[in-house]
């Protein structure tokens, strides 16, 4: 499946009636610095979409445009059948969970969560019920009368979540909400967020620079690079069929093979790939480390040899990480990475195998 | 994030108010300095007569110079008192630092008038100091130069401005990272050398700020001379005051005020440049 086709497919996956938010050619410049260079994407109702990218990729800017804290320099944002970007933030059916939570220090947890309801004049009885329900959902009911300053980071984050969700927004924006937490707490919160989203059914637009996080949580990932949309697809799709070399390297680890294609065959330094599709000429292929097998391992496990491509290389380094191990293999001057289950240590010259279909042709 | 309307609402009122109630009055003062008084009326005839009078008339020049001398003395004395105090508090006071700091600021908040008056009761011929000296039989006659003299003015103004000078110097000293002092001593410099080469230069911004403040405010002070200055202790601001009072000549008074204003702005400008150069070193 070609990479262009993959992208179209993902867009089509958002059917017209399931479309919640649409950005059309959104451009944002600060002075003469163009941060967003014409982004068009669609968010499906009820999905967990992640905006993934390095710092400076424009992901937070896009989020802020959707929230309403910035105006697009050009382009439009639509929610349903209404234009969104012309509305001030307090009139959008969108709520945000901020990176550092932005809880109001002079209000209790209860009053923080009730804030959105109060300013819109919700009757006290209804507000009280909804606040209690929201606090219960994030398991912070017993802290209702506490001040935010007395809470830990993880607890503050839950309150921020409740404060946003209690307003029943159409879209919830999350600006790297887990980045301030330590690793263990982060993993725990990731799983809680995911199940919360499933339970509540609200559409989540999540921003992060952590690709593992994006893969774990999202229904779809939108990878941004230098203000442009690099690829948008489900995690499995984007992992198995990256459209560009950048995507292949950003998400997971990969080997980038620079080859010359001639009549359906690719010739690279030290190895070849056949058959391949696409035009003749220089081409780059992405080959994931776990797709490369070691002859010695196959022989030991008695697995049959279905891979067609093979090459030999010298093992330069082994990086052990418990369940698996990463080998750095020198193949005709090129350093390739191979992932294998950690077993008997290997060394020296070895033969490696892989299937041609695992080598994905990518754009540079 | 802030709408145009928001920005207009917050900037317009203060701008208009300051424009009307500060800029216009100061400009009016400037304007008056170019006018003259004839037959008890202010004539808008736009000339430099007042400035010429100031430069030519030895009385005015004399008072001006005396005022500068007094202001310089006050600044010097305040520094001599305030700097060591700040240094002591910052480096040597240990656990009592907070308390001592509060003790220093308290007099700042006590009325100028109260403090000036206190000195008046101490320095007079029938005052506390003379009473004390006589009680100890050190003198039999009251010592008169204490009150109604430039000395008294300098004394009172030093008393007023020492805490003012203390504050920025203390702030500067507190900002000096202690490891720098340690490093200096580690490299072989004793306390005096460390002070001269490390602490003093780094506290310069505070020192300059405090000194400028003391000088400028002393220059334009008219209350201390009225309280304790007498005839020999008059300062230029008293001259201005009388020109706006009995000796009705607003334009001339305005011209003197403009001179004080120019000296002030000039000094502030100069110290800002010095501070910038210091900071960039």
């Amino acid at each position: 499946m070609s990479s262009a086709g993959a992208k179209c497919g993902a867009q089509d996956a958002v059917r017209k009636d399931g479309l919640l938010l649409e950005a059309r050619g959104v451009v944002k410049s600060f002075g003469n610095r163009e941060v967003l260079k014409g982004i068009s994407l669609a968010v499906a109702r009820g999905e967990f979409l992640t905006l993934l990218g390095e710092s400076g990729s424009g992901k937070t800017t896009l989020l802020r445009l959707i929230a309403g804290f910035e105006q697009p320099t050009a382009g439009e944002i639509w929610m349903g059948s209404e234009r969104l970007d012309t509305l001030p933030p307090y009139r959008r059916r969108v709520n945000t969970v901020f990176q550092h939570y932005a809880l109001f220090p002079h209000l209790s947890v209860h009053d923080n969560v009730a804030y959105g309801l109060r300013v819109k004049g919700t009757p006290a009885a209804e507000a009280g019920e909804r606040v209690d329900h929201a606090l219960g959902m994030v398991k912070m009911s017993e802290y209702a009368s506490t001040r935010p300053a007395k809470l830990s980071g993880g607890q503050q984050q839950r309150v921020a979540l409740a404060r946003a969700l209690v307003n029943r927004p159409e879209l919830l924006l999350l600006d790297e909400p887990l980045s301030a937490l330590d690793a263990n707490l982060r993993k725990q919160m990731q799983s809680e967020l995911k199940s919360l989203q499933r339970e509540v059914g609200v559409t989540f637009l999540f921003v992060t620079h952590d690709q593992e996080e994006a893969m774990a949580l999202s229904d779809r990932i939108a990878l941004l690079r230098d203000g442009a949309l690099e690829q948008i697809a489900s995690p499995r799709e984007i992992y198995a069929h990256p459209a560009t070399a950048y995507t292949a390297q950003f998400i997971g680890q990969t080997n980038l093979l620079r080859c010359q294609v001639l009549k359906g065959s690719a010739a690279c330094a030290g190895l070849s790939i056949s058959p391949v599709t696409g035009a003749d000429g220089p081409a780059t292929f992405s080959l994931r480390p776990e797709a490369i097998k070691c002859r010695a391992d196959l022989a030991r496990d008695g697995a049959s040899d279905r891979s067609q491509m093979r090459f030999t290389g010298k093992i330069r380094q082994q990086i052990y990480s418990g369940a698996t191990e990463l080998l750095e293999v020198d193949c005709a001057g090129q350093l390739l990475r191979v992932r294998r289950s950690a077993g008997e240590p290997l060394s020296g010259e070895q033969e490696f195998l892989f299937s041609a279909e695992d080598a994905v042709r990518v754009r540079e | 994030m802030y709408s145009r309307l928001y920005k207009i609402i917050v900037s317009l009122p203060p701008l208009l108010w300051v424009g009307l109630f500060l800029v216009v009055p100061y400009v009016l003062m400037l304007g008056h300095s170019f006018w003259t008084v004839r037959d008890g009326f202010i004539v808008h005839d736009w000339n430099l007569q007042n400035y010429r009078t100031l430069l030519a008339n030895p009385v005015y020049v004399g008072v001006f110079l005396r005022t500068m001398r007094i202001a310089a003395s006050v600044t010097l004395c305040s520094l001599l008192l305030g700097y060591p105090l700040a240094y002591y508090l910052s480096f040597h006071s240990g656990a009592r630092k907070e308390l001592l700091y509060q003790l220093v600021i308290v007099p700042l908040w006590v009325s100028y008038l109260v403090r000036g008056y206190a000195w008046k009761t101490i320095l007079g011929s029938e005052g506390v100091l003379n009473g004390f000296l006589r009680y100890l039989h050190i003198t039999t006659e009251p010592v008169s130069f204490l009150l109604y003299s430039p000395f008294a003015v300098i004394l009172v103004l030093t008393h007023i401005y020492t805490p003012f000078v203390f504050l920025p110097i203390y702030a500067s000293l507190e900002h000096i990272p202690r490891p720098l002092v340690e490093a200096s001593q580690d490299l072989g410099a004793g306390p005096m050398k460390t002070f001269l080469r490390v602490i003093l230069p780094l506290s310069m911004p505070g020192l300059i700020a405090g000194a400028t403040f003391a000088f400028v405010l002393s220059l334009g002070d008219f209350l201390a001379p009225l309280l304790v200055g007498g005839a020999s202790g008059t300062m230029i601001a008293n001259v201005v005051q009388s020109l706006f009072g009995a000796a009705y000549d607003w334009p001339l008074g305005a011209a003197i005020s403009v001179c004080i204003l120019l000296i002030t702005i000039g000094l502030l400008f100069a110290t800002e440049r010095i501070e910038k150069r210091w900071a960039s070193k």
């Binding site: 309403g68 804030y115 946003a164 | 300051v18 216009v24 009016l28 040597h92 020492t162 334009g220």
Partner: protein, 277 residues
Amino acid sequence: MGLEMNARSATRNSPLLATYAGLVFAFIYLPIVLLVLYSFNRDGVGGFPPRHFTADWYRTLFADSAIWDAVWNSLQVAAGAVGLSLTLGLLAALALDRADFPGKALFRRVVLLPLILPGIITGLSLLMFAVFAGAQFSLLTVFLGHGTALISVATTELFAGLQKMDRAQEEASLDLGATPWQTFWRITLPNLKLSLVAAGLLIFTLSMDEIAVTFFLIGRDNTLPLEIWGRLRRGITPEINAVSTLIFAVSVVLIVIWYRIRARSIGAETQDLLKRP
């Protein structure tokens, strides 16, 4: 941390410096101490040593209606000045923090002028303006003078408070559906509470003690400093010591309160910084 602790002992204790510092303290406090002492002296403000302690002067003071009228006038002016300065100062601080307008740098300087220029210059300028505008000199002119001169005290303090505030809170408020007006009252202002109180206290004290500007803007009704000033010309009595002592006592209370408030806001800051994850 360990290395820094030693820095204190690195600068050895110097008894000479301590003595000098003590003398400076004595110089600063001596007049005030004597003032308080002599307010209880039956025989007047001079001479030594004070004998015949009495509280009579305080009794005279409390019966002196002119003084208390002046106190009331001063309080009115000070309260008004606090209101005016805080309001305009708050707007100015918001403008400096959030808006860009032509002459912004100039505005910042001009608004500071009354604090760094000798009071007589500001006082006379306002006098000329008042005459020019045909105004009657009264407590109103004094109030306007104080309020204007002290704007920058409020601006400086409130600007610092705004800078310390987490901008995201205002964004969160808008995000949750509050209009900018609601956000200002529910979020911005409460966050500035400490700054407002600290600035207010300072403005109040400065206004109560203000002489230079007041001198030229006063009408029939006296403020306290000018009332005392008038008495001084007529002749000094320990009654003035008594009122001065009271002023001193009130000042001490105010400054302790102000200091506590400052300490609390700095304490809250450090708590925030330590909170981070």
